[in-house]
């Protein structure tokens, strides 16, 4: 038995003997005091894809990104595009395609340079290439999230906090676009259940609403916000129907295509 297995069983044994805490509910005051933190409250696409991988056996290779984000000078668009790239990085990891992940790493770096947040990403980009060469897929998952988090930290340091929300927004749109597409192709209640994430949409809408007016009204954010409003009722049921999933996919695909300009999508 390995040392980690020892520790793992120690924890499980302790958990078994710890007993459940007394049953109870949160008070109104407790609910009002709940905190939200982008880095923990919003799941990464990899977490989404792990759940999807349990439901079926997606042919991840079919979903590899085939184009780059459209060329733009808009910092908002670049941040959104960067988020979509991170999501596509996880697809490449699930597909275990080392070259695809290296290409995505280079594209992330290129966008980070445009946002002047490339210093911390440079090292990460090299690590991504090394891990890809060594087929270390778990390390790549961690590295992708770490890359995204470092980009966000740099944005905060540069008083570009608004871009943080947009990176998360881009990643979520691409993740839902992909998973809803998979579930639309082969509907299953178990797959549809994964899409039930209304709180994330509410969080992202609130993030857009908190942006300065000029940023909030910059294209394509009004369009994206409208798409989120359309999506919200589709992801509220415990098990969205096949029709709801298809409608969700249509909405998210349109938003993804809008973010990426004329880039072809798989």
């Amino acid at each position: 038995m390995t040392r980690t297995a020892h520790v793992f069983f120690l924890i499980l044994a302790a958990a078994a003997f710890a007993g459940m805490p007394a049953h109870g509910s949160m008070t109104k005051e407790d609910l009002a005091s709940v905190e939200k933190l982008d880095a923990v409250t919003i799941p990464m696409p990899g977490e989404f894809f792990t759940a999807m991988g349990k439901v079926g056996q997606p042919a991840w290779g079919q979903y590899l990104r085939s184009g780059s984000p459209g060329v733009t000078d808009s910092r908002s668009m670049i941040a959104l595009g960067l988020g979509t790239l991170v999501a596509d990085g996880y697809v490449a990891v699930e597909a275990q395609d080392g070259q695809a992940i290296k290409n995505i790493g280079k594209e992330i770096l290129a966008l980070a340079k445009k946002l002047n947040v490339s210093q911390s990403v440079l090292g990460r980009s090299n690590s991504i290439a090394d891990f890809a060469d060594n087929n270390d897929w778990n390390a790549l998952r961690e590295e992708l999230e770490a890359t995204q988090n470092e980009v966000k930290l740099d944005m905060v340091d540069q008083n570009d906090d608004r871009l943080v929300t947009l990176v998360s927004l881009g990643a979520w749109i691409r993740g839902v676009d992909l998973v809803s597409g998979m579930v639309t192709t082969e509907y299953s209640p178990a797959g549809a259940k994964l899409l039930r994430q209304p709180a994330i949409i509410e969080y992202l809408m609130a993030g857009i609403d908190e942006l300065p007016e000029s940023a909030r009204n910059e294209a394509p954010l009004p369009e994206i916000r409208a798409g989120l409003v359309t999506s919200l009722p589709l992801v509220e049921p415990e098990v969205p129907s096949a029709e709801q999933v298809a409608n969700l996919n249509t909405t998210m695909r349109a938003l993804f295509d809008r973010i990426n300009g004329s880039a072809p999508t798989p």
């Binding site: 520790v7 120690l10 924890i11 949160m26 709940v34 880095a39 792990t50 415990e238």
Partner: protein, 146 residues
């Protein structure tokens, strides 16, 4: 043996903390985050993947902290938290979107604690972090999933 030693030494460290207040600068390398990472690290070789994001802050007795997380049905989660002295006993618990406590596995060892949870329904949940014994202290929470 590093992880095992860590778990064996934690209660000892907690006991020492009760008897002799230790100034934080005496143990500069033991941060709440590294303690939480040690705890979560026990799961990674069992196929759990560690989130890079973490929840740092301060916790004091009688003033629990709550955090929203959004989880996926079918995934298995361990939420791992640790606090540094003068914290002595910490707990982590899980509530659904309505604020009702859900069934979860509970682990606690002094100022380190974890909650294991496998949701049947995707969506919003709340984590409660409570300092049961000790004084106001820095904490960190991270989570692992598979």
């Amino acid at each position: 043996m590093k992880n095992l030693l860590f778990f064996l030494l934690l209660p000892l460290c907690a006991a020492m903390a009760q008897e002799t207040p230790v100034a934080e600068e005496v143990l500069p390398d033991i941060s709440a985050r590294s303690l939480a990472l040690e705890l979560a690290g026990a799961f990674t070789n069992d196929g759990y993947r560690l989130r890079d994001g973490f929840w740092p802050g301060e916790i004091e007795p009688g003033r629990p902290r709550y955090l929203e997380v959004n989880l996926f049905a079918g995934n298995e989660y361990w939420f791992c938290a640790a606090a540094t002295p003068p914290a002595r006993k910490l707990s982590v618990s899980v509530f659904d979107a309505a604020g009702k406590r859900v069934e979860f596995q509970s682990y606690g060892d002094g100022a380190s604690a974890a909650a294991g949870f496998e949701p049947d329904i995707s969506g919003k949940y709340f984590l409660k972090l409570d300092l049961l014994e000790g004084e106001k202290s820095p904490f960190c929470l991270i989570y692992a999933y598979k």
